[in-house]
Structure formats: structure tokens, C-alpha cells
Symmetry: C3
Subunit: 434 residues, 3 copies
């Protein structure tokens, strides 16, 4: 089947090495350490950063764990796709953070240089989150080469929209419900639409979990859940705004767990809980409270947002995802529309309302513009990116090999395990005879 040239021996290493060499050269030209002097930027961390450049470091590490353990393991739920989930996640995020720091930094040059700080590292990690969300939509159906191309393009486009939202539109979005979650989800869904595979319409035997793979995925879920308060508060203003962002996210997520569990049981056969919902919908509260996180929406306001997010997300997994796949040709492997898409939009809407109610500075119209901009950039950017990814020489997997690590990874033979235990039995026998 010559259309599927899945051997990556040349194209993958060459692409990776070119990307890294170009990146290193760019850093040689632009990147210096932030010595805390001569900031012309206006973000509120500056004074703190000058005196205590590592003030934000613990929060950075929490975000780092979310990116590499959280996203990586969340996607390991597929029975034969764990190496790719956690391994390609590492690859994309490691490249993405370098590229993101560059793309975001170019908008904020100081004396022609990007001054690298913990604050910028957090934003670099953030930029990779968009890619990892989109990765979820196309998980199992794309090659590492395609995904690196997506990373390159998506982070570039993200940086434009993020600059527009934060500096031109001047909208509030401290926890990035709009610029990361909605953006990443709709970008990924647009890519998934372009890469539609009609032969997977009736499912694929590998597109499901086994007991242990669901357990690995829970590692991702729980780390995302725990550290989300850091994600939503890391770049908030120091002091009370940052405290509010932590508290609001903590409570939103807690309320979200209860509504997600309740709805999961309510809609499932015999009232049983469904791991897909538990792994994903319990996190929707973190997404949805993002835009409002540092606003004084009151603790119960945050809980209400989380509560609604858990309901919407679970219902989306149960009823909307099958429709998107069958009617619109959007095959969303991880259901990112339910975890990041709809809750991200909910977060944007909550932000519009909160600003309209005077809970934060800004204008409701600008909040709405930010939401529209994020979704617009995502859909158009994702569509174009999808077309580029669809070019036939990026090594995409044939339909029957989707959701299978063994196409791009050396996978230990399953037989070995059996041989192993047989051998052990023999060995024990031998030992007994000794």
C-alpha cells in the first residue's frame, strides 16, 4: 500500500533535527536571561520578579507536571497506544515550549532580546497545552511527523491570537478558558474534520481501553485535577487576585467532580460509572472557571460554574460526541470538545457575564470579541493546518493500524510475556530439581 509510507527513518529525524537546529540558532540570536533590569513591559509580576526571580517557580513546576504527566498520561487510556500518548506528548511539548517561548517572546522584545524568566517559561508551557489538547482530537490517527507540523503551526497561530486577545482586545482570560482551551479544542476538531477517516465510522477494535490503561489514564486525570489551581493562577496578579484564582479553581473542580459523577451514573446503563466521564468531565470545572478565576465571583459562583461544566461535559461525552462523528465527520478520539471545547466556551461566556456584572475591569464586548477571535483563529488555523497535514507524505497510519503503537515504536512482543511465565514455570521446576 504505497500511499502509506509509514517508515519514518529519514523524514522524522530530518524534520526533528532541522526544527531543533533552527530553534537553537534563533535562541542564539534572541534569547538572554532575565536579569530583572530595565523592564519596559507592564505585567504585574515585574517588581516581584526583580527581587525574587523564583517566586513563581513552584507554580511553574505544577504547570510543568500538568503538561508532561497530566496530558501525557490522560491519553494513555487506549489499550495499545500508551507509548505514543506519553512519548509523543513529551516530544511535542519539549519542542512546543521552545517554539512557544520564541513565538510569544517576539511580541515582547526588550532591546531586541527575549528575556527568559519563570513567567515566560510558564507561558511557554501554556502554549504547548493548546497542541496537546488538539493532539487529543487526532490521537491514534496521525504520525509523529504530522504532529510536529501541527505543533509548529498551532503555536505560531496561538501566539498571534493570544497577543491579540491580551494586548489589543485587552480581555480577561487569566486561566485561558478561551485562548488555550477553546482554541486548542476547536483547532483540533478542525484538523480532525479535515483528516476524517470514513473507514473508522463504525469504530476500531483498538479504539478503546483495557483495565490497566484506564488506571494509567487516571494518573493523568488526578495530576491535572490537583494542579489546575496553579494553571489558573500562575500568571494572575500577586496577592489577592492570585489567591482568588486558586480558591475559585479549587472549589470549581470539587463541585465539578460531584456533578460529573452524578450525571455519569444517571445516563449510564444500570447506573454504573463510566471511566471516560470520570477521567475527563471531572476536569471541566478547571477549564470553565479559567476566564473568571481571578475575578471576585465569590466561592459559590466558582462552584456553580464547575457544577454546570461537569454536567455539560458528561452529557457531551454521552450524547454529542457520537453525533459529531456520525453527522459532521468529526472523530474526536479523546472527546476534547467535551473537556476543553464546550467548557472553554462556557468559561468565555461566564467571563462576559462576570465583566458585565462588574466583577472585573474591562468590557463585556471585548470579552465576547476575545472568545470569537479564539474560536475563529482556531477553526481557520486548524482547517489550514489540517490540509497541510493531509499531504500524503507525512507517514500517516493506514486505517487498520490506527491506535497502535507498533507502527512507530519498537513494542515488546506480547508473546514474551507468555513465554516468560512458561519459562518461569520450567525454571521453578528446574530449581526444585537442583
Amino acid at each position: 500500500m504505497p500511499a502509506y509510507a509509514t517508515n519514518m527513518r529519514l523524514k522524522f529525524p530530518i524534520l526533528v533535527l532541522i526544527l531543533e537546529v533552527v530553534t537553537i540558532i534563533s535562541y542564539a540570536l534572541f534569547a538572554v536571561y532575565d536579569d530583572g533590569k530595565g523592564h519596559h513591559d507592564t505585567h504585574s509580576q515585574n517588581k516581584t520578579e526583580e527581587e525574587k526571580p523564583l517566586e513563581l517557580y513552584p507554580m511553574f513546576q505544577d504547570v510543568h507536571v500538568m503538561i508532561f504527566i497530566g496530558f501525557g498520561f490522560l491519553m494513555t487510556f487506549l489499550k495499545k497506544y500508551g507509548f505514543s500518548s506519553v512519548g509523543v506528548n513529551l516530544l511535542l511539548a519539549a519542542f512546543g515550549l521552545q517554539w512557544g517561548l520564541l513565538m510569544q517572546g517576539l511580541w515582547h522584545l526588550e532591546g531586541g532580546k527575549i528575556k527568559v524568566s519563570i513567567f515566560k517559561m510558564i507561558n511557554a508551557d501554556f502554549s504547548t497545552a493548546t497542541v496537546l489538547i488538539s493532539f487529543g482530537a487526532v490521537l491514534g490517527k496521525t504520525s509523529p511527523v504530522q504532529l510536529l507540523i501541527m505543533t509548529l503551526l498551532e503555536i505560531t497561530i496561538f501566539s498571534v491570537n493570544e497577543h491579540l486577545v491580551a494586548k489589543i482586545i485587552c480581555a480577561n482570560d487569566v486561566g485561558a478558558s478561551m485562548v488555550i482551551h477553546a482554541f486548542g479544542a476547536y483547532f483540533g476538531l478542525a484538523v480532525a474534520r479535515v483528516l476524517y477517516r470514513p473507514n473508522l465510522r463504525d469504530g476500531h477494535e483498538n479504539d478503546g481501553s483495557v483495565y490497566h490503561s484506564d488506571m494509567f489514564a487516571m494518573i493523568g486525570t488526578v495530576f491535572l485535577w490537583m494542579f489546575w489551581p496553579s494553571f489558573n493562577s500562575a500568571i494572575a496578579g500577586p496577592g489577592l487576585p492570585q489567591l482568588m484564582a486558586v480558591i475559585n479553581t479549587y472549589l470549581s473542580l470539587a463541585a465539578c467532580v460531584l456533578s460529573a459523577y452524578a450525571i455519569s451514573s444517571l445516563v449510564e446503563h444500570k447506573g454504573k460509572l463510566d471511566m471516560v466521564h470520570i477521567q475527563n468531565a471531572t476536569l471541566a470545572g478547571g477549564v470553565a472557571v479559567g476566564t473568571c478565576a481571578d475575578m471576585s465571583i465569590d466561592p459559590f459562583g466558582a462552584m456553580l460554574i464547575g457544577f454546570v461544566a461537569g454536567i455539560i461535559s458528561t452529557l457531551g461525552f454521552k450524547y454529542l460526541s457520537p453525533v459529531l462523528a456520525s453527522k459532521l465527520g468529526i472523530q474526536d478520539t479523546c472527546g476534547v470538545h467535551n473537556l476543553h471545547g464546550m467548557p472553554g466556551v462556557l468559561g468565555g461566556l461566564a467571563g462576559i457575564i462576570a465583566v458585565a456584572l462588574g466583577k472585573a475591569k474591562g468590557s463585556a464586548a471585548m470579552q465576547a470579541a476575545a472568545l470569537a477571535s479564539s474560536i475563529g483563529f482556531a477553526l481557520i488555523g486548524g482547517f489550514v493546518t489540517g490540509l497541510i497535514m493531509k499531504l500524503p507524505f507525512w507517514g500517516q497510519p493506514p486505517d487498520q493500524n490506527c491506535f497502535d503503537d507498533s507502527l512507530y515504536w519498537e513494542v515488546p512482543e506480547q508473546e514474551e510475556e507468555n513465554e516468560g511465565s512458561l519459562a518461569t514455570a520450567e525454571q521453578s521446576k528446574n530449581k526444585a530439581e537442583v
Copy 2:
């Protein structure tokens, strides 16, 4: 078998939604952000909190990891109960922290309001630990509905005892050997006694581990072990007391590992190490040093406490648990008596001695009263809670379905895994033929 109405389709969602709605309404009435102004409380963090409201945030996150990853994965050792262990742990803790913040906060209203701060969030997380300890005692033999009822009642009772111990008796218990560990263990054991299942007297085929489930459990063990210094020091006075709490816990745990390993090998057949001991008894040093953690007991004093705790705990698993089950009808699934019960009492006794020796302010009699109060509230509270949980309509599992996720969870078919590998073999063949 009509006695076991294990279908949760209505009772579970309704209970969960009622609990959450009541909680949100309560927060609307009582909860506000802690703006750092006008504290009338006297805890020593205040000044710090006003100036730096996120000072304690890294320690909070460590505790958070212990609650959600630590307790959750520690209980995944059972071969077919991983979804429930980590999933129900998440549910109970997410509800528990909301309820605990409320219950504890009602004792400390300021202007009729609960001022939410990181300090209060740490205490809210703490309150869930009692429930998760008790959960260990009844793991595999209770429905999510029963466990939510236990959460509601146990945290309410905990808050009364905690207030009594801290504010009326004025005892030292910074790492909560008494008010969390001993309390949670004896509460759970009392519940387990009431829920005694005679048919499980000779064990249950699912009440054991497989290789991989033991590995998942070690994730829980190691995260608990690593972050325990944060648990014991999070609410200690800033400066030297907090430093001492960290050092004492670090050294107590290290010494405990060595005694637990030594005794495990000594009592086991052929001198082999037993995973049950390693997963649990290595943590007893963290429990036992809790009460004395911020006292100047000297590094070697902390190590002695940990050393003894490791011995007692391992011996308890080996010799005492079987007796409790067969003679007293206390079926303690995770052996919480050995990890939290006896080491908690040891911690309380160490606290009495330390105070008597002048290592901290307070009186030995008050320390003893605090220990007695904690055990008393636990036994009576657990007994009453057990009776309520025993009512026949909470969906408890029939004996033969104990320790089995599939009663309350959609579980992927084991067959799929085999089909999967067969299919792969076929597929590889097909690919070869292409």
C-alpha cells in the same frame, strides 16, 4: 436477590446532587475570600497570610497530592478494585473538602462569614484524610452511596472533635496523629465491625493483589512517603517549628523504612519481603511522629519514633489483623489499624511523654485527654455511622461481588485484551501480505 439493590441509577445521582446543591447554597451564605483584613483569630499564620497569602501554597499542593494520588493509589492494590479505589477516593475527597471547609469554618466565623484561605484549604484537605483512612477499612465492601453518607457524618464528627482538641483541650497535635490518624482508623474499624460479613471469614478470591496492582499501589505509597513532611508541618508555626516538623518527619520516615523492611523479612516465609508491609508500614513513621513533629524532640528522637512505628506496624499486619478479623469480627481491608490506628496511638503517647519532658508547652494530662477524646469520638461516631450505613437500601454489594469494580463501574471486557492480541496477530499477517 432483592436485598441487594445495587443499581445506583437513581439513588446515587440524587444523593450526590442534593449534597452538592446544599453545599453550594451554604457557601453562598457563608464563604468569602480571605482578604487578610480584620482577623480576630489567633493562629500564628495570620501575619504571614496577610502579607503573603500564598506562602503555604506549595505545602498545600503537597498535601493535595497525598490526598488524591497518595490515598487513591495506595488502595489500588486489589486486583479488581482500582477504578473504585482511585475513583471513589476522588469523589469522597472532592465532596469532603467542600464539607470540611464548611464544618471547620463554622467554628471560626468572622463577621458571620468563613474567610477561605490556603490555611483553611489545608485543613479542609486534612478533614478528608479521616474519611479516606476509614475508607481503607471498608474498602471493597461498601457502595459509593454508603461511602458518601460516611463522608458526611465522619467529617461532621471530626470537626467537633478537632475543635475540642485544638481549642478547648488545647492539646498539641500538629501532624494530627490523634485527630486524623487514630480518629480515622478507629472510626473506620467501628464501621467495619458493624458491617461485619461472616461469609468473608475465609477470605474472598478478589481480596488480593496481582503484580501490576501492587505496582500502582506503590505510586500511592511513595507519594505519601515523600510529601508527609508537608502534611506534618503545613500548619506548624512559621520558622523553626515548621523546620523541625519537616526534619523530624523526614527522619522518622527514613528510619521507619528500615525497621519495616527488616521486620517484614524476619517474619516472612524464607525471609522474603511482603508488599503489604512495604506499601503500608513504611509510612507508619509519618503517622507516629505527627503529634510531636514540631517539638524539639531532637533528630534521633524522631528516628526512634519512626523506628518503633515501623516495627509495630509490620507486626500488626502479620499477627494482629488476622486476630481482629477472626476473633473480633473486624475485617480491615487495608489494615488501617496497623498503618493509622496503632501508629496514631503511638504518636499520641509520644506526645504525652514529650510534653511531660517539657519538649513543648501544654500538659501531659491534656494530651492524654485529646487522645481519649479522639478515640472516643471515633468509636462512638463510627458505630452510629455504621448502623446508618447498614440500612438495607444504600446499594451495598452482595458478598460474592465484593472487591469488584464491575458492580458500580463500566469495566472493559478482559476478553477484549485477548481479542486485541489475536487481532493484532491477524493484522500483522495481513500487513505482511499487503
Copy 3:
């Protein structure tokens, strides 16, 4: 087979208890809390530590996670050696940190006492890293008794070399490329050489991974990868040097991921990625940038170091390890030569160059002396330690039982799993009949 007395029932507990009792007595004689007063030492943290004794605590916890989760799970890749990997890792590190704090502290007595602080706890954790690296070289081929002896000796020797390098030679090595990574690797390789097993020349059926064990190993890899910036910066001077150490490590690791992935695909059959490379070589950037981490080598300099390290490390796994095993009789189970040995030397060389270029104080000759000292102490120390470990009464495993937990651990019967699923099938049938 009397030569292999693998029953540890007496020798293991007795050794462990003696070690711990001796340690506790030593702490009673020497260890006190660091009250921040009267420091005569000159390390730059002092002023900070006096005012804020827990300033470094979040970084300490990151290092702690690397030691216990990172190293522990990284070594779980073997199909039947997970209990030993994570369990013996815990044992060795728990003893090692107590012993290391003592050995390092004896060089810095203040008033005849070791003043325990977070700074000293970080260094204690560091000292265990040398042992855990060496453990990787002999993984699966040594008994817990042998490994405890190695821990005792290696940390003692490490403390001498570390004191020599830091205080006499006065070399820069903030991230310990030389004194930990190169030292630990060459120490372990020397031990492995002495313990050479000719019968394992053609491999061993248990010396390989299965799918799930590779997933567990990735937990270790990713936690090491994420928290390495803390490892390299924890003891750096506060302010800009510490910030540079974080940034340099972050970027070096990111660049290293890309080169490791590229080379893995380039050298593997059909361009597939190899989990051995991904689990290990992606970390080489953290090792190699260690010595230079707090120097102003510029962000692109750090990336170059990481980029080269990823290439060298991957090529080492592919081409050098087999040669070391077949020609030199060095059977390096985890390939620590590729992850810690060569990248550690690369780090040392980079340090020489950086100092020669004026990027930091000091002299290139002293940097070279530090590298030579570290490798020299490692090779001689490892050789002598290996000879002691080779004595025939430490319970080393016979060749056919290498890489197998069941020699030293109670392992749940594999059959149970099958019985379990059969039983479930029956049970479901029964339930259906009810």
C-alpha cells in the same frame, strides 16, 4: 546449590537493624536542628536560611520526587523486577539519606554538631543519587544485602570526593555532572565489572520489558525530566545564578528530547522509536548541563549541550553498551554509562571549557582535576566495593534467577490473575441466574 544462600531471613534483618541502630546513635551524638544561629560555614544560602529556613523546601521536594519516584520507577522497565526496582530503591535511598547527611555533615561540624537544615537535606538526597545510579548498573544481579553494603561504602567514598572537589579543589559543579553522575556511573560500572556473570553473556529471558513495565518506567522518566531544573539549581546561589540554573536545565532538556528522538528513529530498524532511548537518553541533557548550570553560558549554549548529550546518549545505548558487555565484561543493566557516565563527562568537559572562556570563576585546571578525581574515586571505590560485594555470603542471586522479584519478594501468583478472570466469568453467570 549451597553457593547461593539467597534466603535473607537472618542476614538481611540483622544488617538492616544494625545499620539503623548505629545511625540513630550517631544522630543522637551529632545531629541538631539548624536554628539559624552562629553559622561559621560560608555557603551562600546562609543569610536566606536564617530568615526563611523553608525557602528551599519546594526545590527539596522536587529533588525528593526525583530520588524516590524518578529513579524508582525509571528502573521498573524490567518485566519481573518492578517490586525490587521501586522497593529496593526506597530502602537504599531511605538509608542513604540518613547516612549521607551524617557523612557530609561530619566535614562541616559546627560546635561539634551537624546542624540539620533543608540545604543539608537536599545534599543528603543528592548523595543517595550516586547509589541509585550505580544500582542501575547492577540491577537484577544483586541482593538487597549486597546493595546495602554498596550504599554504605559508596556514600562514604562520595562524601570524601565531594568534599575534595567542592572545598579543596574548589571546582564548580552545581548540578553535579561530575561528583554525582559521572561518579555514580563509573562506580557502578566498576562494581558491575567485578560482578561479571559470563552466563548472562547471551542475555537473559527476564532482561527485557513488557508493555506495562515500559509504561511504569515512563512515570520515572517524566518526573526526572520535569524536576531536573530543581536538581541543578537547588544549591545554586540565590537570585540570578539559581534562575540561570533553572533556565539552562529547562532548555537543555528540551533540546535533548529532540535529538534523542531523532537519533533513536535514525538508528532503529524501520525508523521506529525505541523505548530504551526515550526513557533514558531524553534525560542526558539534564546530566550534561549540570556543571555549567549556574554559569552564563546563554540559553543557546545550554541547548547545544543538551542537543549533543541526547545524540551521544542514544548512540551509546545502540552501539557502545553491547561492546562494553561483550568486550569488557561490563553488563550495565540500565545503561547508566549512556545516561549518567558519558553525559556526566560531557558536563565536566563543558565546565572546563566554560571556565576557560570566563563564564564562571575558577580555573579550567581545577575543573579538570575535579573530573579526574570523581572518575578516579569512582573506579577505585567501585572496584574495591565490588570485591566486597562479591564475597559469597551476601545472598546474590543465581544466574537463572536474575532479574526476578520472586527471589526476594512474595510475588502474587500469575495464575491468580487467570483464575480471577475465570472466576469472574463464572460469577457473571451466577449473577445472571439469580
